[in-house]
Amino acid sequence: MDPTSAWGMVWRGIAALITLAIFSFLWRDNPVYKFIERLWVGVVTGYWTMLLYYTSFTDKVRVPIFEEGQWWYIFPSLLGVLMWFRLSKKYGYVSRYALAFYIGISTGVFIPLTIKTSILYQVQGTIRAIDPTWTGIMFGIAFLGILCSLSYFFFSKEHTGVLGVSSKIGIYTLMIGFGAGFGLTVMGRVALLVQRVIFLRDYGIDLLGGGL
């Protein structure tokens, strides 16, 4: 659809009004914001219902079991059905079996993954030589920060003495890192705001026939 056609302008106008309605929250909670909030939640609920129907029920139940004959998909499907027992006061406990299975599987998947990505990769990346170059010195400082930061997360020992000092340096190191992360992300958010303001400006220009 041509964005400058009559229908294009109507749709863009709706998008511009919704954007302004969401921005109105900055002033205070108001009926327009309430309406758009509910509209958004409603649209998304409808969208997700259909999305889940196709990506979960069709792709994982109907097609594998009834069209491809992969009967073993019946077992996870039955676990899904167990969740519906939640609606019954008498047999509500049955849904816990499905939940237990879900949590158990998730934990089993996450533990090796976490060991790999959060421990092994990190230690592997940390081990390198501290050479007498500028980069080497910077790495040495960073390495000290890593050791101190890690010491902050010792929970079974009181943070006094050497551990107290190192954990103090550790929390300062963490805060420096958080500050850098904060600045970086805020820049990203400002870019998003600029993008939205440009959208509103362009719509305004097109609406007034380029007269601005």
Binding site: V44, S106, I119, L120, Y121, Q124, L147, S156
Partner: protein, 411 residues
Amino acid sequence: MGRTILFLLLATLTLLLLPGGARSAPEPPARLTARDNPNDSGHGILLEWEAPAGAESILAYEVFRLPWRPESEGPPHAPDTPDSVWIQVGTVPQVEDQRSLEYVDEDDERMLGTAVNQHFVPRNGSVYYRVRSLATDGTRSAFCPIVSGTAIGNWFHTQRVNALVIAIILGALMVYFIRKSAGGIKLYIRPIPGLAHIDEAVGRATEMGRPILFVLGTGTAGDIATLAAYTILARVARITAEYQTPVLVPVNDPVMMLMAQGTVKEAYLEAGRPDLYRPENIFYISAMQFPYVAAVNGLMLREKCATNFYMGVFHAESLLLAEAGSTTGAIQISGTDQVSQIPFFVAATDFTLIGEELYAASAYLSQDPKLIGPLKAQDFVKAAILLIALLGVLEATLLSSQWVRSLIEAH
């Protein structure tokens, strides 16, 4: 002088004409083999071959296979079936001096939307391959002899033995400390800033006669941070039951909603006030991040919540929630293991549980041996990691070797 110029001209002309005249197809790759790709779920085949003589003129190798088709559409394609059409599945560049080359053909999707995925690698089914060389001048060799391979699912990932060793050591330490703790030996856990203020925050809401908001984040019920958040929710719910203050828990996932309802209900029972439990206060909003935020922000303003808790997995919504909550004047306590979101919570909430403090908080609050034991065990593993990193860096700096690093190499 004239003869020299004539010689140079002739030589240049010869050089210009030579490549065209001498252009010949490169040699096909040698000793192609196809076997099951190790350490996968059975949808990958590893192809290996050797570079032929004259590999310096080869740019890349083109890998072809016979397409997959579902059983319902006929028997698998074989090289001698008339309707077999070879499809290219990959290109492997020839890196200078490299003699042994390999390519992993893996694909576990049988269908792409409604279309059959011809690149699917079936488990326990044969797939036929052939490879040819592509020279730098664009000419292609003949195909090497056809080979076939069968993908098999592997139960054991041989390159994750180090992760297994860590898991076993951690598990053994956990069992040891859980038993020790359950046996009545008091294991020390340092106070966690932020947790001490939970009672105070709930008390404030009670005094003001306003509800408490507990946001479990936008993760899933299986996330470790979400699981830790349930323990804190249980603690908060128990206090709110004692103080008769409503706690609102808007969630973004139906499974999380069921688990949160169970947690709060149990906490009310433990507090001896099951009559105060309101399942409708733990409700599903939306699975999508920003509509969820819009609704929670509206809830904060309309219900005038006096205390907001943000515990669990958070993404881009962290600042949107914490900032909106801050404008309402509520006391805010947050905790997440998402490193990229901690800065926003640190900046916009009153108290923040940083990373692992969230896990430790659940142990600290519950004083349950099953949670305290693992925390103690984790500290030992952390000390070991710290020591390994220190030894590794010292070894790399002083001895210029990488033995320690190779021990923990993750693939």
